[in-house]
């Protein structure tokens, strides 16, 4: 792993001087495999910038529909009260920048959905207060789970042109295609943009079973029933045979 980073680093050192492009970058791997022992992982991003301006690195995970339910009390019993569905929201969102103030909002950042305040959430509900309340809970939960980090992630510079960012993926990430976006922004202009995909796959028997349950529910259901019947029969047979009635 260390060797890989070193090679990458060296490649960028050379590249950054050979090509006069405004920004260039690469990552240590394009693939994350989730197996039963998966406990989160880190990916290293290296880059070099050749022009003036601020860098923003944003990583977005596959879109999901989230349900946020508020617990309510009736006669002392807790039940599920109001629920709001947030459609097509990023399941992972991580932002790094060279801005001093991460909460900076301008037209460009808002358009590109860069930063906590600029993320757009879609619901079918019209009550703005309630939407904000539930959305805040959703973002807080995702931040607690380390799936969202939109706060004060600074980009580390190794010298004047070279920078590195460590991307953190917790163990609860969803599978799908993630995109790493690297922006170079000067004042209000987008100088350069680069996008790198990361493929998150689920591997191993657990993933196969879960796929099978959703794609072949008929066979899965039959199989569950048959396994139960056969094991019940085998247990009875073995006991009668070896232990007696």
């Amino acid at each position: 792993m260390k060797k890989l980073f070193l090679t990458l680093f060296l490649i960028f050192c050379t590249l950054s001087h050979v090509f006069a492009r405004p920004i260039i970058s690469g990552i240590s791997t394009n693939e994350i495999n989730i197996d039963t022992n998966f406990n989160g992982t880190k990916i290293l991003l290296f880059g070099a910038k050749g022009d003036a301006g601020n860098i923003i690195v944003a990583v977005r995970g596959p879109k999901k529909n989230f349900i946020v339910t508020k617990k309510q009390k009736l006669l002392g019993v807790w039940y599920n009260g109001k629920r709001i569905i947030f459609k097509d929201s990023f399941s992972y969102y991580s932002l790094f920048s060279t801005f001093d103030d991460n909460r900076v909002t301008n037209h460009l950042l808002s358009q590109l959905e860069l930063g906590t305040n600029n993320l757009k959430f879609n619901t079918n509900e019209n009550n703005a207060n309630e939407n904000n309340e539930f959305q805040l809970q959703l973002v807080n939960k995702l931040e607690r789970d380390k799936l969202y980090s939109t706060g004060a992630n600074k980009i580390e510079f190794l010298d004047e042109t070279l920078f590195k960012v460590i991307l953190n993926f917790p163990k609860t990430i969803s599978r799908g295609v993630y995109t790493v976006e690297i922006y170079l922004i000067n004042e209000d202009d987008l100088v350069s943009f680069q996008s790198i995909p990361i493929y998150v796959n689920q591997v191993g028997i657990g993933a196969d079973i879960s796929d099978y349950a959703y794609q072949q529910p008929l066979l899965y259901g039959l199989l569950s029933v048959i396994i139960a019947l056969v094991i019940g029969w085998i247990a009875n047979y073995l006991f009668v045979r070896f232990i007696g009635k």
Binding site: L223, A235, N236
Partner: protein, 313 residues
């Protein structure tokens, strides 16, 4: 030793699940009940979502019941004709139950409905059983009889109710049990129990057995076998429907429980002959009440987070 459950999407301790399966199997073998009433709440206590706990228990019940049924078939203690009538009602009931389950799950209220149903049924059955078994123990010890005086009125009313049942049309004769009763009675009875099977993830034995004795008036020696016979079909129907409509059967979890409960059921059947039945019944009643209290407590305690966030599938 941890294992990751692919559908429940959480890791669980294999040994805990095996012990749970063994315990439910023991109960199944000793009392002819599926043990689902114990397995489902326990799975919920260790953090498996109610929807998955209910469906996976239904799957486990199949094996415990199949294992027990074979033993009863060998002894000829099964009224297959009655079993088929109960099965028809059970199919209708459990299919209805799975649809109700689906509606409640979509509305996000399945957790609380499962919780309340458990508290009501476990509470009432547990109290009735406890009273019954304490009475038996006291009677044995002090040679008292306090049954006859108060009960005559109630008995009369119950007798009238039974007479009404006997007057219903579509009378069928069941040679094995040597009873003659309207086909509507077992069918309607098993529809009701079938709904509960799907909602609670239980076999329904602890409801079906008393109903068979008191309402259908079947001879007690063939009640357990016949109950197991119809439970297999109802639990199979429930498992299958839950798998295709709600995707809530976790085959890995079910497998661990199936293996251990099949073994437990065999041990239980053999232990059943040796252990003092009255004391065991008291123990079972206390167990029911303990689970009921825990479920009751969960309904009223303030949840850790006031907001629940889930990914819609």
């Amino acid at each position: 030793m941890q294992i990751y459950l692919p559908i429940a999407e959480i890791p669980v301790n294999v040994l805990v699940i095996l012990m749970l399966g063994l315990a439910t199997g023991l109960l199944a073998g000793m009392f002819g009940i599926g043990g689902g009433f114990l397995a489902t709440p326990f799975l919920m206590f260790i953090g498996i979502s109610p929807a998955i706990a209910v469906s996976t228990s239904a799957n486990q019940i199949i094996s415990a019941s199949a294992s027990g049924l074979l033993a009863h078939l060998r002894k000829g203690n099964v009224d297959i004709k009655m079993g088929i009538f109960l099965m028809i009602g059970g199919f209708i009931g459990s299919t209805l139950g799975v649809s109700i389950f689906r509606i409640l799950q979509k509305a996000g209220q399945i957790d609380i409905v499962v919780g309340i149903t458990y508290v009501l049924f476990l509470g009432s059955i547990g109290v009735l059983m406890l009273i019954e078994s304490v009475k038996v123990i006291v009677k044995r010890k002090y040679d008292l009889s306090f049954e006859e005086e108060a009960k005559t009125n109630e008995n009369l009313r119950f007798q009238k109710f039974l007479n009404k049942l006997d007057n219903l049309p579509f009378k069928v004769f069941f040679p094995k049990s040597s009873i003659s009763i309207s086909a509507l009675v077992p069918i309607i009875l098993s529809i009701g129990i079938g709904i509960l099977v799907a909602l609670m993830g239980i076999g329904g034995g602890f409801l079906m057995i008393p109903a068979m004795i008191y309402i259908l008036r079947m001879p007690s020696n063939i009640v357990v076998g016949t109950s197991l016979f119809q439970i297999i079909f109802i639990a199979s129907n429930t498992t299958f429907l839950q798998a295709i409509t709600n995707h809530t059967v976790d085959i890995v979890l079910a497998f661990l429980m199936i293996v251990s409960s099949a073994i437990g059921a065999q041990i239980g059947t053999r232990l059943g002959y040796k252990i003092n039945a009255d004391k065991m019944r008291t123990f079972l009643a206390l167990l029911l009440l303990a689970v009921c209290l825990k479920m009751f407590w969960n309904l009223f305690t303030t949840p850790a987070g006031l907001y629940v966030i889930e990914i819609l599938k």
